[in-house]
C-alpha cells in the first residue's frame, strides 16, 4: 500500500495519532504531526512512497508539531513547529510554515547521525542498466541540480544526498527521498522539466529558498534494488564554464571520496577498504559544466559507451 492510497483524512489522522509509517529505501520512518498545512503537502509529495506493514520495526520516530507548554501560546502570534526525534527536541523551533523542509532536513539528520552500519558518502547517486554513477560533492557544487535533471532523463534515483554503501558487499543502497533544491536551482529544474513534481518554494529558511522535487515513481518502486558503483563523477557547476569531463587520477579520487564521506572515520579500516575497492573498480572523472542539458547528454554518452 502506498501513501497515495490513503485519503487525505486518513493520512492526516495517522500523522496526528500513532504516526504515519512510511518507507524511504532502507529506512522505516514513523512520522507524527498535528500541523494541517504540513499534512496537505506531505500527502502530496509522499504520494508514491510505500506505507509500512503493521509489524515493521521503525528506525526513526520523528515529529514536527506545534510546541508544548507555554510556547503553545505563540500559535496566535508567530506560530512555531518543533522537530523532535524519539520525543526529544534537538533543534531550535522553526517557523510553522517551514515545517515541511524542517522535517525533511530532520530525517536527513537522523540518517547522517545514526546509520553508521553503512558507509555514508555525501554524494548524489543515480543508476542506469544496473550501474551506478556517484557524484561526491560539496555544498554548492550542484550535485542536487544535476541529480534532479538526470532522474528526469532516464536515470533511476538512489539519492541526492547519501551514497549509502553496504559494507558486506560494497553495494550502493537506494534511498530515493525528495530532492531538496535551493535558490536558483529551483527554476533551473522547473525549466528543464516542466512536468517534474516540485513542491512549493519555502523562502527564508535556514538554508535559503528551498523546494522539494518528488522522484519519479519508478525510482521509489525499485527502492530495494541495490547496484554496483561504476563511475565517480566530481561535479562542479560554474556559470559560463566550458564543458569538460576529464579522467581523474585514482589517487586523487580516493582522497576526495574519503574526505567527502560522512562517517569515513567511524568505519575506520572498513571504510578504507570500501573506498579503495570502489575507486579501483570505477572510472573517475572531474566534471565542469554550465549548461545542464549538455551535462546530461554527455553523461548519457559516457554511460552508453560502456554499454556498447
Amino acid at each position: 500500500m502506498l501513501v497515495g492510497d490513503l485519503s487525505h483524512r486518513q493520512f492526516a489522522g495517522r500523522l496526528a495519532s500513532a504516526g504515519l509509517g512510511v518507507q524511504f529505501g532502507p529506512f522505516n520512518l514513523r512520522i507524527r504531526s498535528d500541523l494541517g498545512s504540513f499534512a496537505s503537502l506531505a500527502h502530496h509529495l509522499y504520494e508514491p512512497y510505500p506505507l509500512l506493514d503493521a509489524e515493521a520495526i521503525s528506525d526513526f520516530h520523528v515529529q514536527i508539531a506545534s510546541p508544548r507548554g507555554l510556547r503553545r501560546l505563540r500559535r496566535w502570534v508567530r506560530p512555531q513547529a518543533c522537530f523532535s526525534v524519539d520525543g526529544q527536541s534537538i533543534f531550535a523551533p522553526y517557523r510553522a510554515d517551514h515545517a515541511f523542509p524542517a522535517l525533511e532536513w530532520g530525517i536527513n539528520w537522523c540518517v547522517a547521525t545514526r546509520a553508521h552500519h553503512l558507509l555514508m558518502l555525501h554524494s548524489a547517486v543515480v543508476e542506469r542498466n544496473g550501474q551506478a554513477m556517484v557524484f561526491p560533492a560539496w555544498p554548492g557544487h550542484g550535485k542536487s541540480t544535476l541529480c534532479a535533471a538526470l532522474i528526469h532523463s532516464g536515470w533511476r534515483l538512489f539519492s541526492d544526498e547519501f551514497g549509502l554503501v553496504r559494507p558486506e558487499d560494497g553495494s550502493l543502497l537506494p534511498v530515493p527521498r525528495l530532492i531538496s533544491l535551493k535558490d536558483a536551482s529551483i527554476d533551473v529544474i522547473r525549466r528543464f522539466r516542466p512536468e517534474a513534481v516540485i513542491g512549493p518554494a519555502f523562502f527564508g529558511t535556514r538554508k535559503g529558498t528551498v523546494a522539494h522535487v518528488r522522484p519519479p515513481a519508478e525510482s521509489i518502486r525499485r527502492a530495494q534494488e541495490p547496484a554496483r558503483p561504476r563511475w565517480f563523477i566530481f561535479p562542479r557547476w560554474t556559470a559560463d564554464a566550458a564543458f569538460t569531463l576529464e579522467p581523474m587520477p585514482k589517487s586523487q579520487a580516493f582522497l576526495m571520496v574519503a574526505t567527502n564521506a560522512f562517517n569515513y572515520d567511524v568505519l575506520d579500516e572498513t571504510a578504507f577498504r570500501l573506498v579503495a575497492d570502489m575507486v579501483r573498480t570505477c572510472d573517475c572523472y572531474s566534471l565542469r559544466y554550465a549548461d545542464l542539458n549538455e551535462a546530461v547528454t554527455e553523461l548519457e554518452k559516457l554511460s552508453g559507451s560502456i554499454d556498447g
Partner: protein, 381 residues
C-alpha cells in the same frame, strides 16, 4: 495516567531484561524490538546490547533491522575507543619528561585495562586523576602541546579551581577532544570526606608503566560516587553508570578478598552510603551477584527507614529511562530532587545557595541550552 505508567514500566522492563539476560533476546517478540531499541538508545546502552549479542554469537538470530542499529552503535563505540587510545598516546607524548603518575578514570580506565565495562560503552572525554601538587605542571605541559583552556566565565573558572575536584576541562585545538583533570574524586567542599592520597598508593600500573588505574575497590567506589553525586538535572542518574558498577562487581567479585576489602575501603574513604545504595540497586535492577553477608553488613550504614524508602523511590524514578511516547513530569521532578541532593552533598548550604542562585540568574537571563545544529550543513557535523 494508567496507560502511561503501564507503557513506561513495559519499556523499562524490556531494557532491564535485555541487560540481565541478553541471550533471551532472540526470543523477543518482534513487536517489542522497536521499543527496546528506542529506550536502549536513550539510555545509551544500544552498543552494550550489541556487544553482548555479538559475544554470544546471536546477532544473526534477531531481526536484521534491529541488528543494523546495534551494529551502527558498536561501530561508533569502536571508533571512540580508537580515539581515546590515541588521545592517551598524545597525552603521554605531551607529558614526556615529567614524572607524573597518571591515573585513568572511568571509560579510559576500563578501555586501557581491558575491563568488562569497556564493552559497548560510549566514551566521552578522557578523565585523569593527578596529585594536586602536580596539576599545574600537567596543565602547563598540555597547554604547550596543543590543548586550550575552554572559554568559561570567571565565575565558573573560580568555581572549578576553588571548590571542585577537577580543573576546568582542556580541549585539543585540532581534535576537539576534552580532558578532565581531577585531583580528587569529589569536590573539596563535599560533605563526604574524600582524601585522595590512599587512592594513589593503591593504584595499579597498566602494561605501560606511566599509566595506572584505581585499585578494584576504589574503581567500584568511584563509579558509584560518579553515579550518585555527579547528577545532571536533565539526564538524571545514568543507568549505564550502574551497568559499569554491575560489570566491575561481577568481574572483581571473583577475586578472593574483594568483598571484604570493599566494605573496609568504603569506610576508609567515606563512601559507605553510595556503596549501600549502589549494591542494593545493582542487585535489585540488574541482578548483580552480591554475597548476602555483604548486603547484611551494609545495613549498619543504611539511612533511616523513611529516607531509605524515599531514596529507593527517587533512584528508581531517575535511573530508569522513560517511555519516548509518554513523557511524564514525575521523573523530571525526581531528577531535579536528585540534582539538588547531589549539590547538597557537594557543598555547604551557604555556598550551595549562592551557587544555585547564580545559576538560576543565568537561566533567567536566558543562556541558551539548545544548540542550533540545523544552521550547519549536515556534512559539517
Amino acid at each position: 495516567m494508567g496507560k502511561l505508567s503501564t507503557e513506561t514500566r513495559r519499556a523499562q522492563r524490556l531494557l532491564l531484561t535485555a541487560l540481565r539476560v541478553p541471550e533471551t533476546l532472540p526470543a523477543l517478540p518482534f513487536a517489542d524490538w522497536e521499543l527496546l531499541l528506542r529506550v536502549a538508545r536513550r539510555a545509551r546502552l544500544l552498543g552494550r546490547l550489541g556487544c553482548d549479542l555479538s559475544r554470544a554469537g546471536l546477532l544473526g538470530n534477531i531481526p536484521p533491522r534491529a541488528a543494523a542499529h546495534l551494529r551502527a552503535s558498536r561501530n561508533v563505540i569502536e571508533h571512540r575507543n580508537t580515539l581515546v587510545s590515541w588521545e592517551i598516546n598524545r597525552i603521554l607524548w605531551a607529558l614526556k619528561g615529567t614524572e607524573v603518575p597518571l591515573i585513568l578514570l572511568k571509560g579510559a580506565a576500563y578501555a586501557l585495562a581491558e575491563l568488562p565495562p569497556a564493552r559497548g560503552r560510549i566514551f566521552a572525554d578522557v578523565d585523569l586523576l593527578v596529585p594536586e601538587n602536580l596539576i599545574g605542571e600537567v596543565e602547563e605541559k598540555l597547554l604547550g602541546h596543543g590543548w586550550l583552556k575552554l572559554q568559561i566565565d570567571p565565575y565558573d573558572d573560580r568555581y572549578y579551581r576553588v571548590w571542585m575536584h577537577e580543573i576546568p576541562p582542556l580541549r585539543h585545538r585540532e581534535r576537539g577532544s576534552e580532558i578532565d583533570i581531577h585531583h580528587r574524586l569529589l569536590p573539596r567542599t563535599s560533605r563526604l570526606k574524600s582524601d585522595p592520597v590512599p587512592l594513589f598508593a593503591a593504584a595499579r600500573p597498566l602494561a605501560d608503566p606511566r599509566l595506572r588505574v584505581l585499585a578494584p575497590a576504589d574503581m567500584v567506589l568511584h563509579a558509584l560516587v560518579h553515579l550518585f553525586l555527579e547528577g545532571d538535572p536533565d539526564e538524571g542518574l545514568r543507568l549505564r553508570d550502574l551497568v559499569d558498577v554491575h560489570d566491575l562487581l561481577c568481574y572483581h567479585g571473583q577475586e578472593p578478598g574483594f568483598w571484604a576489602g570493599l566494605g573496609l575501603r568504603a569506610r576508609e574513604l567515606g563512601f559507605e552510603r553510595p556503596l549501600f545504595y549502589g549494591l542494593h540497586h545493582a542487585h535489585r535492577l540488574l541482578g548483580t551477584p552480591i554475597p548476602p553477608d555483604v548486603l547484611q553488613k551494609l545495613e549498619d550504614v543504611a539511612p533511616s527507614w523513611l529516607i531509605r524508602k524515599l531514596m529507593d523511590h527517587l533512584i528508581h524514578l531517575t535511573l530508569l529511562p522513560g517511555h519516548p511516547d509518554y513523557p511524564s513530569r514525575r521523573p523530571a521532578l525526581g531528577r531535579w530532587l536528585m540534582y539538588v541532593r547531589a549539590h547538597w552533598l557537594r557543598m555547604p548550604p551557604v555556598l550551595l545557595a549562592r551557587h544555585l542562585s547564580y545559576k538560576a540568574w543565568l537561566r533567567f537571563r536566558g543562556v541558551r541550552k539548545q544548540i542550533d545544529l540545523a544552521q550547519l550543513d549536515l556534512k559539517q557535523q
